[in-house]
């Protein structure tokens, strides 16, 4: 049994690449999310007493307690906290930047535009500026506040899980194609727009942080990793179709700008972003990288990933997520990568589609 303090200390060490064992959450998906196989939950009772100390085994008297200090132990999943956060499928950032979300019931998704963009083809000529939609921003802040008021007794509260970054928002505004055309032909206007969008991202992230209660003197990100300071997460899905050169020229500076605005930032990447991993981990202020290990053909095989991940984890803590991994594959990751800075959050393949299993 570990208590919450053990867990936060483990997380504190993880950010510094100093944890002596990896952060693990390995679950059986069949009964998702109710059957967690991870046995090493932080289940120890943690009761904060009036004087700020933790209750120990023995009798409990009313005068030892204070209403403002009594909290239940927050739920965890493996070595990670289980955060409550605003519904992540809403494309909040695109909506806040003026792109009306589109629902696709069959696609099980809500989309921030449909690839074509909402700005005119020659946006770069017209000096267009993204306008912040206050209604969407207020809704996000109010929803975050609601999560805090309603759930913070049993859960940690985090920012919404999908905070899209400047390139994704730009794609929603001007269309995917025009992001590339902009980088090639209207570099200055593209840079200016990306920086403006990064400023909006930072503003929205800070607005959420203001209503999220601090937990143990820090905050928890959407993966459930605590940090002794402000956290945030952004993603640049659109970077998947950009060359590494263009990433360094246009996207890395704005990802860095976001990383500079918070204490512990994490960028979420997909397997198809493997071409940018070195550039991403070169961002000095970036706290960590999360990689979704989608299986081939969406990205490299696990064996091809290992040297890339080894390079990355030397520089930044890594969160590895996968839909399914076999026991053998989990062993391979744990054997090949050092525990320092490693967080593995995956499901074991006991049933389901064999398609999603990696071919080593």
């Amino acid at each position: 049994m570990r208590n919450v303090e053990d867990l936060t200390e483990l997380h504190r060490a993880w950010w510094k690449l100093e944890n002596d064992r990896p952060l693990l959450n390995i679950a059986y998906r069949e009964h998702f999310p109710w059957t967690w196989l991870q046995s090493d939950h932080a289940r120890g009772l943690e009761l904060v007493l009036k004087d700020g100390s933790l209750a120990e085994d023995g009798s409990l008297q009313p005068e030892m307690l204070a209403p403002e200090k009594m909290h239940s132990t927050p739920f965890t999943r493996g070595d990670l906290f289980l955060p409550v956060m605003p519904f992540g499928k809403i494309p909040w950032m695109e909506a806040i930047c003026g792109v009306t979300p589109q629902v696709s019931v069959k696609g099980n998704s809500i989309w921030g535009g449909f690839g074509q963009g909402i700005w005119p083809e020659e946006w770069w000529k017209q000096g267009l500026e993204p306008e912040v939609d206050r209604e969407w921003l207020n809704l996000l802040v109010e929803t975050t506040k609601y999560c805090a008021e309603r759930f913070s007794d049993h859960f940690v509260i985090a920012q919404t899980s999908i905070m899209r970054g400047p390139v994704d928002i730009m794609a929603a505004l001007v269309g995917d194609r025009n992001v590339i055309v902009g980088m090639y032909r209207h570099a200055e206007e593209t840079r200016r727009l990306l920086h403006r969008l990064a400023d909006i991202c930072i503003m929205v992230m800070k607005a959420q942080n203001e209503v999220i209660p601090s937990f143990r003197g820090g905050y928890v990100n959407c993966w459930g990793i605590w940090a002794p300071g402000t956290v945030t997460r952004n993603q640049e899905d659109g970077a998947a179709y950009v060359s590494p050169t263009l990433y360094r020229q246009f996207i890395q500076p704005v990802d860095r700008k976001i990383a500079q605005a918070f204490d512990y930032t994490t960028i979420h990447l997909h397997a198809s972003h493997h071409i940018h991993m070195d550039a991403v981990t070169d961002i000095p202020e970036l706290g960590a990288v999360e990689v979704n290990l989608e299986p081939p053909p969406y990205g490299p095989t696990l064996s091809e990933w290992i040297p890339i991940l080894k390079r990355m984890i030397r520089k930044k803590p890594l969160i590895l997520q996968a839909w399914y991994l076999t026991r053998r594959q989990i062993d391979m990751i744990l054997r090949e990568l050092p525990p320092q800075g490693l967080c593995l959050d995956t499901y074991v393949q006991e049933a389901g589609e064999s398609y999603y299993i990696y071919k080593e």
Partner: protein
């Protein structure tokens, strides 16, 4: 004469030089070089782009820009093209199948095909089988492109091909399917005529088929 400018067109195209390729093409026309010759030089540049893409020296961003250059040059060359030349005048209808909202691959194919001179009708994303059938009836294309990124939506491709059969249109159109969850065998099972591993190959397959006619 004019070899130097044709070589420059091929080189600038291969290097994804937007302004430089266009200015070389303009120079070639000014020198009296035939539009068909210019197109051949561009095709040479595109061949190098394909090689670099396969060697992972180029990425999707370079394919998108190659398509953009080709589109621009096509507009310039149109009035000069010899009708008997190698110019392609086929119609293509393309879309992402129902339930899938991903369109990068599809959009690159469109960009490349438009640059090659195809008349492309883009049905967008989340397109139902019925809408594909309707478009084939209305546009009468020689090629129908079906795109998907999600494995869960791939069966929609099969449903669309079935719907074409039911409407009696299957024989009128060549169906090409593309998307990461697919492979050659899966494409055959779905009843497609062709499978494209990526956007580049998709455009090349359609081009090669169109030139067979």
């Amino acid at each position: 004469m004019g070899d130097d400018v044709l070589l420059a067109i091929a080189r600038e195209m291969a290097n994804i030089g937007f302004e430089s390729t266009i200015s070389c093409c303009r120079e070639a026309l000014w020198r009296g070089i035939g539009a068909d010759e210019v197109l051949k030089a561009l095709a040479e540049g595109m061949r190098v782009i394909g090689e670099r893409f396969e060697a992972r020296e180029y990425f999707l961003s370079e394919l998108i820009m190659a398509g953009e250059i080709m589109k621009e040059v096509q507009l310039m060359l149109k009035p000069h093209l010899n009708l008997g030349g190698e110019q392609i005048r086929e119609k293509v209808v393309i879309g992402t199948v129902e339930g899938d909202l991903h369109d990068i691959g599809k959009n690159i194919v469109i960009s490349l095909l438009s640059g090659m001179g195809f008349e492309v009708t883009d049905l967008g994303v989340d397109v139902s089988a019925e809408r594909f059938v309707q478009a084939v009836q209305e546009v009468r294309p020689r090629f129908l492109g079906l795109s998907a990124l999600l494995r869960a939506t791939v069966p929609e491709m099969g449903r669309t091909i079935e719907a074409l059969k039911l409407a009696g249109l299957r024989g009128n159109v060549k169906v090409i399917v593309g998307g990461l969850p697919l492979n050659e065998e899966y494409a055959r099972q779905l009843g497609a005529d062709f499978y494209a591993q990526d956007a580049w190959k998709g455009a090349q397959i359609i081009r090669a088929e169109a030139l067979k006619r």
